[in-house]
Symmetry: none
Subunit: 208 residues, 2 copies
DNA sequence: TAAATATAGGCGAACAAAAGGCGAAAGTCA
DNA sequence: TGACTTTCGCCTTTTGTTCGCCTATATTTA
């Protein structure tokens, strides 16, 4: 969200309120603000405060004296995030469709994996038991092996790529779908390749 | 997205706007730009700014004085994310437990709402039909009203706060739980207050 | 090759809206 | 009641927008 910008005068008012509050422990009155900035009318000050409120720089508490709540907290900590490739879509039984258009998604660091990370979009409701819906994005950490029970992007017989939970059973591997209607796939160890492990899920509801 | 190239003169204007904004905390006026670059006509400056806007280098706010929004799109790929307050937890039938410790989560911009945004952690499996699991985080846009069918954080009778889908039915409001075992709550319009609308969901699988 | 056309840059004046301001009266709250 | 905040007109200054017209330097077209 881009915060609406301030004019020089508005910034002066905001700065004054902020420093006054820091120095006194309570907020200034409209009159105090006025005389500090050389304004003779309370109406003018009030208008400024109202604008600052609308722009989201002040939390106003109507009709309260010394309406404390002067939270001028424009703490826009710009913290690094990283652009992650959005490779394509994956559905339960289909190969990954690689998205030719190299689109990317920016993610905060805490959502990333240890090594290389990429994002896939899930198609279909087949993952519904994992609480993953059609259109959700899964964040995948690229890895060649997985711990029992992890959700993986796996490649079976070199061609089919799916999203399932992986369980090792002796020299075999069981790929458990997240849909009760689908049976697990059991294959030999050597026929399955792990492409990566799902470390996060995210869903954005489209705006109306 | 390849950005259209700039002519030397256009770049001069853009550079000036950028450095001015950094130094002052607000954008220059057309006049200030003009005299800095030795242009006597505001029309000339205005034309430049318009072009820069069309080419996507500036965010213009028509008719606004000091229409800051000088979004000087940095060529650097480091994309800003913002720290969002993590307010507490919410479950289907319980009030929000406000987390005293003001923790926060950083999110990329595309996941944010229009206005104030905050994050709540979901407790319990009651939202499972919406594919929201225990421990998931919901990103909430602070709003006082919601469109039919949106998932909202609603306050009923001033005390109970829940996460449900909202449907208007005449002068009544139906709050539909996401669990088939729970019955919808139907209340009078005035007894329910919308605190915000869920705009995104995210889940992080913990590392082993 | 000359003429027509396009594009970037520029000028000044006239105008409309936003920003900033005033004083006084009315409304609130403790 | 007194200390504050809100609201109501009304005003001035600042600032952005638009319009017509001008000058170079290319680029096309006849």
């Amino acid at each position: 969200m881009t915060k609406e910008p301030l004019t020089p005068r508005q910034k002066e008012v905001l700065d004054f309120v902020q420093s006054f509050t820091e120095n006194h422990g309570y907020a200034p009155t409209i009159n105090e603000i006025g005389s500090a900035l050389g304004l003779s009318s309370t109406a003018t000050v009030h208008k400024h405060l109202q604008i600052l409120g609308e722009k989201g720089y002040l939390d106003t508490m109507p009709r309260r004296s010394r309406w404390l709540q002067v939270k001028p907290q424009p703490v826009v900590t710009s913290c690094a995030s990283i652009d992650i490739p959005l490779l394509g879509t994956v559905s339960a039984g289909r190969p990954i469709e690689i998205n030719e258009v190299a689109s990317s998604v920016s993610l905060p660091e805490w959502m990333l994996g240890k090594g290389e990370t990429f994002v896939l979009q899930v198609k279909g409701e087949s993952m519904i038991d994992e609480a993953i819906k059609d259109g959700d994005m899964v964040v995948v950490e690229k890895r060649e092996s997985a711990v029992n029970g992890e959700m993986v992007i796996a490649c079976i017989d070199q061609d089919e790529v799916t999203l399932k939970r992986l369980y090792r059973e002796g020299h075999r591997v069981r790929l458990q779908p997240s849909n009760p209607a689908m049976l697990p796939i059991i294959v030999e160890d050597r026929d399955v390749t792990v492409k990566g492990v799902v470390i996060a899920v995210l869903r954005k509801y489209r705006r109306n």
